[in-house]
């Protein structure tokens, strides 16, 4: 009874002689008694008829079957992305058209008012343009992707995914619930990191936290979707372009999952060694989804939340980028100085200085990486009205992009540092600077190595 004396609580000192030594046995007896009573009450109050055909079991038989389990998972993922890409195209154009029309109105308002050029620059070319881009590009895919994801969640499909994939996580030395936190990360890594609380063992929770950034989050989906559409979609006939784009995005997601498993494996054999802890997964019955609730929840809790966050962060970042691009030291802008300094590194990674700069400035939120790239190119001379995908394609091609560049940007988007919010969340959850630092360095080093290899490899075989 050493545990008691250590506590030095008077009541325990008094009770010590009364407490038996076999607490474990007593626990068993208490739980058994409660269950016996529960059973007795149920005998009185519950009547069970002959159950009808068990549809859940049949559905589970298909969704978790040996041969179909994994293909169905991949197919559903591709389907969700394909619907998102196809469906987002038109509203995206419409929104962009509307927002740039508004920009013209605002511009003429500024002219009429006689506003100074720098104010016009910061507010319209900096803040407004970035915001317009973030809204036009991000809102439609999110408004489609989130409800679809919530629908799968509501149906009860996610626990089946965890059931199918658990063996992989088990072999990687990770907790079975890491699969669920990983899925959560597809929405938002900060939310994914927070959801790691469902893992009780500290060791496995850390593994889940450190690898969550390898789940492509919604801040990054638009970048991937746009680049895949522009560069991969254009390789085939228009009829198949969104399908190919969807497959490329699936490929990036799968790469992320493989990296998650690989890093989990490494961590559980080096820094975070230990045995997998106890894991229970409930497979609840499939439920008829409530469409109204799904739309309200996914639009309010997810879409508007993520968009709001992006807008709040994108506005100052847009202003900062414009200021950097328009403050001159000598006759070269600060932005150009910084980007040309980063350029050599960018080049060997298959990208350029502006792209790396965009990732750095995009630390607060991944959503603004592509807008900053665009602003960077446009401030470098191009006076393009950016109102469509084809205009964007022209802009990127003009600045020397190839599909290798696109692949490297997509890979680096998957593998670089987590966004500021996620890092802050990691720090809050782990309460350790060193784990936060590791969460930053691990994907960054991996990203640099990967893009380096891809770019150099592509150069070697002369693609």
């Amino acid at each position: 009874m050493s545990a008691i004396s250590e506590q030095k609580i008077p009541v325990l000192r008094e009770l010590e002689p009364l407490l038996p030594a076999n607490e474990a046995v007593i626990k068993d007896r208490i739980v058994s008694s409660i269950y016996q009573q529960a059973e007795a009450i149920c005998r009185q109050a519950v009547k069970t008829g002959k159950p009808p055909v068990n549809l859940d079991a049949r559905l589970d038989g298909i969704l978790t079957s040996r041969w179909l389990g994994f293909p169905i998972m991949l197919l559903l993922l591709a389907l969700v992305l394909w619907i998102t890409i196809t469906g987002a195209n038109y509203p995206s154009q419409l929104l962009a058209g509307g927002l740039f029309w508004l920009e013209e109105q605002l511009a003429s308002l500024f002219m009429a008012w006689g506003a100074p050029a720098w104010l016009y620059g910061i507010l319209i070319l900096g803040v407004y343009r970035t915001l317009a881009w973030v809204i036009a590009v991000m809102l439609p895919p999110m408004a489609i992707f989130f409800p679809l994801f919530t629908l799968l969640e509501d149906l009860g499909y996610l626990p089946r995914v965890a059931f199918n994939m658990d063996n992989l996580f088990r072999r990687a030395g990770a907790h079975g619930k890491q699969c669920l936190t990983m899925c959560m990360g597809f929405g938002c890594n900060a939310a994914g990191v927070t959801s790691c609380r469902i893992i009780d063992s500290p060791r496995e929770r850390l593994i889940a936290i450190l690898t969550n950034t390898f789940s492509v989050c919604n801040g990054r989906f638009p970048t991937l979707i746009v680049l895949a559409t522009i560069f991969m979609g254009a390789l085939v006939a228009p009829a198949y372009s969104s399908m190919l784009a969807a497959l490329v995005v699936v490929g990036i997601i799968m790469t992320g999952i493989v990296v998650t498993l690989f890093i989990s494996y490494l961590l559980s054999r080096t820094l975070l060694r230990g045995v997998p802890s106890f894991f229970v997964l409930e497979l609840p019955p499939f439920r008829k989804p409530q469409l109204g609730q799904i739309i309200i929840r996914s639009l309010l809790d997810r879409t508007l939340f993520v968009l709001g966050r992006a807008v709040v962060i994108a506005a100052p970042a847009g202003a900062l980028t414009w200021i950097l691009a328009n403050s001159f030291v000598g006759d070269v802008s600060v932005f150009t100085r910084l980007t040309s300094w980063l350029d050599p590194l960018g080049q060997i990674m298959g990208m350029d200085g502006i792209i790396l700069m965009a990732f750095l400035l995009g630390l607060p939120a991944n959503e603004i990486v592509l807008p900053i790239i665009i602003m960077g190119y446009m401030s470098a001379g191009s006076m393009l009205e950016l109102d469509s995908m084809s205009a964007l394609r022209t802009l990127l091609l003009d600045h020397g992009w190839t599909w290798i560049t696109a692949i490297c940007v997509m890979l680096f988007s998957l593998l670089h540092f987590p966004c500021g919010t996620t890092l802050y969340t990691i720090f809050k959850e782990t309460r350790r600077a060193r784990w936060t630092l590791l969460a930053l360095l691990l994907p960054l080093i991996l990203g640099i190595l990967t893009t380096l290899l891809v770019n150099q490899g592509a150069g070697l075989i002369k693609l």
Binding site: V31, Y35, D60, G61, F163, E282
Partner: protein, 81 residues
Amino acid sequence: MHSSLSLADIPVGSSARITSIVTIGPNRRRLLDLGLVPGSRVDSIRRSPAGNPTAYWIKGTVIALRNEDASQILVDTRGVF
């Protein structure tokens, strides 16, 4: 005693009655709280496509356990249909 058989050993589609739980500590309590109390019936219903974990029907709910956890639960298959 016929007690060397564990929950992980029983084939999918068969049923058993729990005789005892081997694990001690907090995991023991978790298993008990799930309804895996001695005397209750468990049905093994399906295995993950990757072979592990296995899903069981326990007191009205489908619960998946990794095989190494299920092997901590001793069962008796006699007289259970």
